[in-house]
Symmetry: C2
Subunit: 352 residues, 2 copies
C-alpha cells in the first residue's frame, strides 16, 4: 500500500478538494502508473454530483489517464517502468464471458469494473480514478501510448476518442460514405476527425448558425443548421451514418429522415428514454437502424491509439491546473471548452 | 380495357361489396393474370376503413395474389399463359434509384406503386388489388409460384411471408442463433417457420399462458409468457434476434433486455410512434440494434417462394368465400384466424 495525492468530491454539493488515498500493493498482473495527464469527461461531473444516484463518496473521478509506468507486478511482461501508458473507463471485467473473450470487455455480462466508483473484483474496495498522482491497474486494462502522440492530447482518446471511433469501425464506415455528426463537443469533434480519416464525407449538424465556421474549421465538409427546416429537408435520405453524440434528450425523428435506406443512426451520448417518441415507421420504411455503442474494448482502445498515431490525430485540449477543477466543471456544463480539459497532474504534485 | 368482377369498399363504414372494375389493355411489359387466390392482410382492413387517412375510394384490397397468366404483352419473355404466378404488395417503382437498382423496390426513393390504392405511374389511375377475378401487372413485379407449393397456401407468402423472411435473411440468421418471435398471427407464425428452417433455436413470446401449446405446435422450441416477469428475467441477455411482429404499440424495453450484446430487435409490424419511450441506454449498453424492415424486394420475393418450395413451407390458411369477407374482417380484428384467410376467387366468379 502507498499513499497518493488526489482530488475527490465528498458529497453532492461539495465540489472537488484535495484528498489522500491508498493505492494497493502490486498484484502479479498489476501496473503502477504515475499519472501525468487526465482528461475531464462530462461523466466525471455526473458522478461528482451524483446525478445518476449511484455515486459512492468520496469519489475520485477521471478515466482518461496518461502516465508513466513506475513499477510492474511479477507476471507483467507487456509493460516496463518508464513506458508511457493509458487507462480508460474500465480497470477490470469478468474476463470469462463471451464479450470478454471477444475483447469487448465494456459489454461484460457481469459489467466491467469502472475506473472510478467501481468495485474491485478482488478486495471489493471502491475504485479511484485519474484525478490523482498515481493509479494501479491490471495489465489487461493498460494500453500503450504511441510515442508520436502528444501524451496530454492523447488522454481524451481513452474515452471521447474510443467512444466515437468504435462505432465508426464496427459499422464499417469507409471512403465515400456520407456521415453526419450531431453535436460538436468532446465526442463530436473526435467523430469528425475519425470519420474524415476513414475517408467519409462529413457533415456536422449544429443548432446554431454561429457555429458553422467552427464546424468547418474542425474539418466538416458541410454544415447543416438543424433548426433550419429547409436545410434539413434538402438533406433527406442522403446519409449512410449519423453519429449522434448529444447527451441530452432530443428528437431523433428529423435525423432518421436524413438517412438513406439501410442507413444507421448511432447513439453514443444518450442514456435517457428516447423522447419525443421515435416513429417506428421511420425505421421500417427504409430498413433503417438505430444503434447504440459504448466506449470500446481493450484491443480496440489500443487500436484507436495506433490509428491516431498513424493519422496524426489527437484531441483539441485546454490544459488545466487541478486546483481550478471546480471552475472547469462549470465551464464544461456551459459547453465552454474546445474541446476537452486535460488536467496537468504536475499541478497536483507541485501543491500536493 | 376489359371488365373484371371484384369486391370493393366505397366508404369508411360501407364494408366490402361487389364492384365492377376496368382492367387496362396490355402494355408491352404487362402480364394479365386470372386470380385464383388472394390472402387477407390486416393492412387490407386498415385501407378499407381508412384507418390511416389515405384511402381513395372505391378501394379493392388484396396484395397476396396467386393466379394463372392469361395473356402477356409483346415484350414479356419471362411468363407464358398458364403459368402460376404471384403478385405482392407492389406493382411498380421508379426503377432508376439506387434501391430499385439493388432490387429493393420497396425502398424506392419515389415510393413504390402499391398494389391497391396506389397510383399508376403511366396513366395515373388508382390501382386495384387482388379481391378481383383479374389483374394486370408489369412483369418485373410478377413472381413464379413453384409447382411444389399449394397455390392457395402460397398466397400469404407474398406479404406475411416475405415480411418475415427478408429481415431474417438480411441480418444473417443462421444455425444456432437464438431467435425470439413476438406475436403469433399471420406474420409471427411465418417467422417461426423461417427461423426454424434457417436453423435457429426459436422462442415464441405470447401474452397468454393459454397460447403456449399453440406456440409449440407451431414449432417453437421454447415459449415465454411475456407477462411473467420471472420468465422474462430468466431470459435476460440470451437472444441474438427478436422478430417483433406486433402491429400495435407495446413496450420494447423488456424485450431489449433479452438481447445479448450485439443483438438485434427487428420491427416488422409497428408503424406507430414507439411508446412507452425506448431507453437509449438499452441500446448503448450492449451495442444493441433496433431495426425496421418492410416486405422485401422482387428478387427476394422470388427467393422466399423458392425457399418455401425447398423447405416445404407454406402459410396455415383458412379458405374464404369472398361473400363472407366482411365477417372475416371482424374475425381478423379479433385475432380469430389461424393464421391467414385466403379468398377462393372461384367464389367470386361463381356469383359474379
Amino acid at each position: 500500500m502507498s499513499e497518493a495525492q488526489a482530488f475527490a468530491a465528498h458529497s453532492e454539493q461539495s465540489g472537488l478538494a484535495p484528498f489522500t488515498l491508498e493505492r494497493r500493493a502490486l498484484r502479479p498482473d498489476d501496473v503502477a502508473i504515475d499519472i501525468d495527464y487526465c482528461g475531464v469527461c462530462h461523466t466525471d461531473i455526473h458522478f461528482a454530483q451524483n446525478d445518476w444516484g449511484m455515486t459512492q463518496y468520496p469519489v475520485v473521478p477521471g478515466h482518461e489517464i496518461v502516465g508513466r509506468v513506475s513499477a510492474v507486478g511479477d507476471a507483467v511482461t507487456g509493460f516496463r517502468p518508464g513506458d508511457v501508458v493509458g487507462v480508460g473507463c474500465m480497470v477490470d471485467a469478468c474476463r470469462q464471458c463471451e464479450p470478454c473473450q471477444e475483447g469487448l470487455e465494456q459489454y461484460c455480462i457481469e459489467g466491467p469494473t469502472l475506473t472510478y466508483n467501481g468495485q474491485d473484483r478482488h478486495d471489493h474496495s471502491i475504485t479511484f480514478g485519474g484525478y490523482s498522482e498515481a493509479i494501479v491497474v491490471s495489465d489487461r486494462f493498460v494500453v500503450n501510448i504511441p510515442e508520436q502522440l502528444d501524451p496530454a492530447a492523447a488522454a481524451p482518446l481513452l474515452c471521447a476518442g474510443i467512444t466515437t471511433y468504435s462505432p465508426l469501425r464496427h459499422y464499417g464506415v469507409k471512403a465515400g460514405d456520407k456521415v453526419g455528426v450531431i453535436g460538436m463537443g468532446g465526442l463530436g469533434h473526435m467523430g469528425i476527425k475519425f470519420a474524415k480519416a476513414l475517408g467519409a464525407e462529413v457533415t456536422v449538424f449544429t443548432r446554431s448558425e454561429n457555429k458553422v465556421d467552427e464546424a468547418k474549421s474542425q474539418g466538416a465538409e458541410h454544415v447543416i443548421v438543424s433548426t433550419d427546416e429547409a436545410q434539413m429537408e434538402a438533406a433527406a435520405g442522403s446519409f449512410d451514418f449519423m453519429l449522434d453524440t448529444v447527451p441530452v434528450q432530443h428528437d431523433l425523428n428529423p435525423y432518421l429522415a436524413l438517412l438513406r435506406h439501410d442507413g444507421t443512426h448511432i447513439l453514443v451520448g444518450l442514456v435517457e428514454p428516447i423522447e419525443p417518441a421515435l416513429h417506428a415507421g421511420s425505421l421500417i420504411f427504409g430498413r433503417r437502424v438505430l444503434a447504440g455503442s459504448l466506449i470500446g474494448g481493450m484491443p480496440e482502445t489500443q487500436e484507436v491509439l495506433d490509428f491516431c498515431a498513424k493519422h496524426d490525430i489527437t484531441c483539441d485540449v485546454e490544459m488545466l491546473d487541478i486546483h481550478n477543477i471546480n471552475a472547469a466543471y462549470e465551464r464544461v456544463k456551459q459547453g465552454d471548452v474546445k474541446y476537452r480539459f486535460v488536467i496537468d497532474m504536475a499541478t497536483l504534485k507541485g501543491n500536493g
